[in-house]
Amino acid sequence: MTVDTVHLMTIAGMALVTLAMRLGGYVLVRYVTLRGRAAVAMEAMPVAVLTALIVPTALATGPAETIAAAITALAAWRLPLIVAVAIGTVCVVLLRMGFS
C-alpha cells in the first residue's frame, strides 16, 4: 500500500480538471450557450479522442491487432460492450499465435 508523490500529484490534477468540467458546464451555461458548429465539435470530441487513442494499437502494431480491432468493431455493433471486449481480446491472442 504505497503512494508515490508523482502518482498522487497526477491523480490530483486529473481530479481537479474533471471537477472543473463537471461544475464548469453547469456554471457557464448561465452565460454562454454553445450553438451550431461549436456544439457539434464538442459533441464529436469523445469519439475523436477515443479514435486517436487506439490508432497506435489498431493501425501501427501489426496485422493481428488491426484485424482484431475490426472484429471488435463488428462485435460491438450488436453485442453488449463487455462481450465485444472479450471477443476482441480472444481474437488478438489467437491471431498473434497465427502471425508469430
Partner: protein
C-alpha cells in the same frame, strides 16, 4: 405521487433505478483495477483515483497514456479531453435541478456520471427531482466504482505477462466499444476517419503523445465543418 414525497421511498426509487447499472459496472471496475496494476499503480492509488476522478472512460484513457516516468501533463490533458463532455452534460442538468437544495445540486453536479446523468434526466420527465431520489441514485453507485477497482488492482497485479492474455489489447477493444455507444451517425463517422488519419500520421512522425491531441482536434473540426447548419442547430437544442 404526493406533492411532498418523503425521503425513504424516493431514496429506494433512485437506488432501484440504478441497481442494474451498479452491477454492470463491476466487470469494468475489475478490468480497470487490473490495467492500473499492470501500469504500476498501487491498489491504494487506484482507489484514490477512482474516488476522486470518478470517470470510468477518462480513467481508462489516462491509464493508457500512463508510463514510466509518468507523463504528468499528457495524462492530465488526456483526462480533460476525455471528460470535456461533462461541460455539456453539466450545462444540460441546470434547468432540471431547481427543486433541489443548493448543497444537493452542487453535490450531484460535482459527482454525476453518464449513468446517473441519464437516469436523473429520465426521472425528471415525470417527476421533480428530490434529495432522496438523488441520494439513492448516487450513493451506492459512487462507492461501487472505487471498491471493485481496488479489488481488481489487488488481484490484477498478480498476473504475469498480461500480453499473453491479450490484456494489452483490452484498451483498444474497450474504446472501440465505447465509440459504438457514442455513435451519432454521419458526424461520428467523419470524426473517426479524420481523427484516425491525423493521429496515424502524427504518431508516425512526431514522438510523444501529440497524436492524441492532433487526432481529437482533426475529428472535431471534421464534424463541425461538415455539419449542415439546420442539423447543427437541432443538435444544439437537444
Amino acid at each position: 405521487m404526493s406533492s411532498n414525497p418523503s425521503f425513504l421511498p424516493e431514496f429506494r426509487r433512485g437506488f432501484l433505478d440504478i441497481a442494474p447499472l451498479t452491477l454492470g459496472v463491476v466487470p469494468f471496475a475489475l478490468l480497470f483495477g487490473t490495467l492500473a496494476a499492470q501500469k504500476g499503480l498501487s491498489p491504494l492509488e487506484t482507489v484514490l483515483m477512482c474516488a476522486s476522478v470518478y470517470a470510468g472512460g477518462a480513467q481508462f484513457v489516462s491509464i493508457e497514456v500512463w508510463a514510466h516516468p509518468v507523463p504528468v501533463l499528457a495524462v492530465i490533458a488526456a483526462t480533460a479531453l476525455a471528460n470535456s463532455r461533462y461541460l455539456l452534460m453539466g450545462a444540460a442538468l441546470r434547468p432540471h435541478l431547481r427543486t433541489l437544495p443548493l448543497v444537493v445540486r452542487l453535490g450531484f453536479v460535482g459527482i454525476h456520471s453518464d449513468e446517473t446523468w441519464a437516469l436523473a434526466l429520465r426521472r425528471r420527465k415525470t417527476h421533480d427531482l428530490t434529495p432522496g431520489y438523488v441520494a439513492g441514485l448516487v450513493g451506492f453507485f459512487y462507492l461501487n466504482w472505487p471498491f471493485w477497482c481496488g479489488v481488481g488492482a489487488v488481484f490484477g497485479g498478480a498476473i504475469d505477462d498480461p500480453a499473453r492474455f491479450g490484456a494489452d489489447f483490452m484498451f483498444a477493444a474497450l474504446f472501440i466499444g465505447l465509440i459504438r455507444g457514442l455513435w451519432q451517425g454521419r458526424s461520428s463517422l467523419l470524426a473517426i476517419c479524420a481523427s484516425a488519419l491525423t493521429a496515424w500520421v502524427v504518431h508516425r512522425y512526431v514522438s510523444g503523445h501529440w497524436y492524441i491531441f492532433a487526432g481529437a482536434v482533426a475529428g472535431m473540426a471534421a464534424a463541425a465543418l461538415t455539419c449542415r447548419a439546420d442539423a447543427s442547430a437541432q443538435e444544439a437544442e437537444a
